[in-house]
Amino acid sequence: MFDSYRENTLRYNPERCFGCLRCTEVCLHGVFAEKDRRVEVVRPEGCMECGACARNCPVQAIEVQSGVGCAWAMIGAALRGKEMDSGTCGCGGETGSCCGGER
């Protein structure tokens, strides 16, 4: 109940993995861990779909529909009659920004 974040679009194909461990390096939420010279998904519910793992996987063993998990951007896109998944966040636009993080 009241948890919309249990499912996500992260898909991992362990057969392709050759154990470079890049995904364990880039993931902010400890979703991947090493096991027997390969990687396994240990915290799938932690995934925020940032896409860092997929982009840094040299053998395309990871797939995720990455995008900005920002209601401000999605509602804004919907109100402008655009696709909610167009994924362009408002940061950097003239109207202001949703993210002000020191990152």
Partner: protein
């Protein structure tokens, strides 16, 4: 291998030729954070000249680097650059500032401006290969959504090493030569959450003031204060209390917080009108129906400022709760109108 030529930016057709030597002068920086820097940070946090907090892209010398000194990549946003250079106090190295349009590392990576193309381009433009003897570039871990390390290696010859999430962990990272699992995990402590509150407040300020004035004219001071309280709850209290409010969804957290904040208003309105018969109950209900959706909507909009909400989840939240919030608000407004009309007619 670097391509022979590439567009200088996605929007124009001009091309830049990769040069053999340094084509851009190397600038010098240090680790000091001056009062002017602090003022700049403060203004950035309050959204003043939002897109103007920029550092000139290019290569910077920090301390007295040699050709074996490490190279760190950064965004050309003053908060990002200053966090990096101040964390590296006492270290010698180079900072490769990418052109991210004045946007922080994480958001720029999400947009792709802190990305493979810009890294490769900036390495070429600065002639980095002739400045240092090694071929390693330390990039912030938060840039990984935009950077493909193996692509950068293939196209520039530079090996991307992801440093820690927080610049403040860099000294330890450099000392032990790797990031510990703890350095790799993102945290969102109270200080990081609260520093975002001013920006949230600035976003909501104009409609809030307008709404409060209208409410003051139509329904009096307590109603206007209720509007301000609902917005403050969503923009300041919510970030502060985020991990402590029950449920995982931001919308339900916001509804709970807004409900609690509405309680004193509800009680006050009841006391005020209870003497005149039936109007006490609807008067008490109005803030309970109107304030939580405002707080919840602002809370939902905070998702983009946090480092853990997925797009799939946020979309689910929007479809689940926004209609509910709208329904509550419409019902609350209808109730308030009925009360107002009754008051005008002298019924209550």
């Amino acid at each position: 291998m670097a391509p022979s030529s590439q567009p200088c930016c996605p929007s124009c057709s001009q091309t830049v030729q990769p040069a053999a030597g340094p084509v851009q002068e190397i600038r010098t920086t240090d680790s000091r954070i001056t009062p002017a820097n602090r003022l700049d940070h403060f203004l950035a946090r309050w959204g003043v000249d939002r897109m103007g907090h920029r550092v000139e892209p290019g290569l910077y010398r920090l301390g007295n680097p040699t050709e074996d000194s490490p190279v760190f990549a950064s965004a050309n946003y003053t908060l990002s650059f200053d966090a990096l250079r101040s964390a590296l106090a006492g270290h010698d190295g180079y900072i490769l500032v990418l052109d991210t349009n004045g946007i922080n590392v994480w958001c720029a990576a999400g947009k792709g401006t802190f990305g493979t193309d810009e890294i490769v381009r900036r390495i070429t433009l600065t002639g980095l290969a002739s400045v240092v003897r090694h071929r390693t570039l330390i990039a912030p871990q938060l840039s990984a959504p935009g950077v493909s390390a193996h692509e950068v290696l293939r196209r520039s010859g530079f090996k991307v090493e992801y440093g820690p999430v927080r610049a403040s962990d860099l000294p330890e990272y450099l000392a032990i030569g790797r990031a510990t699992p703890d350095m790799r995990r993102v945290r969102f402590p109270a200080a990081d959450r609260l520093v975002l509150a001013p920006m949230e407040l600035v976003h909501a300020a104009l409609p809030t003031v307008a709404g409060a004035i209208v409410l003051y004219l139509l329904a009096g001071l307590p109603a206007a204060l209720g509007a301000v309280a609902a917005v403050l709850a969503g923009t300041v209290l919510f970030p502060a209390l985020l991990p402590f409010i029950p449920t995982r969804d931001f919308s339900t957290k916001g509804l709970i917080l807004g409900g609690i904040v509405a309680l004193p208003f509800s009680a006050a309105f009841f006391m005020e009108t209870a003497a005149s018969g039936w109007a006490g109950v609807p008067a008490a209900l109005a803030p309970l129906l109107l304030m939580p959706p405002v707080t919840a909507y602002l809370a939902l909009n905070f998702t983009g400022s946090t480092p853990f909400t997925s797009r799939t989840g946020v979309k689910k939240e929007i479809f689940r709760y926004v209609p509910f919030m709208a329904g509550m608000a419409v019902f609350g407004v209808a109730l308030a109108v009925v009360l107002g009309v009754a008051r005008l007619l002298g019924v209550v």
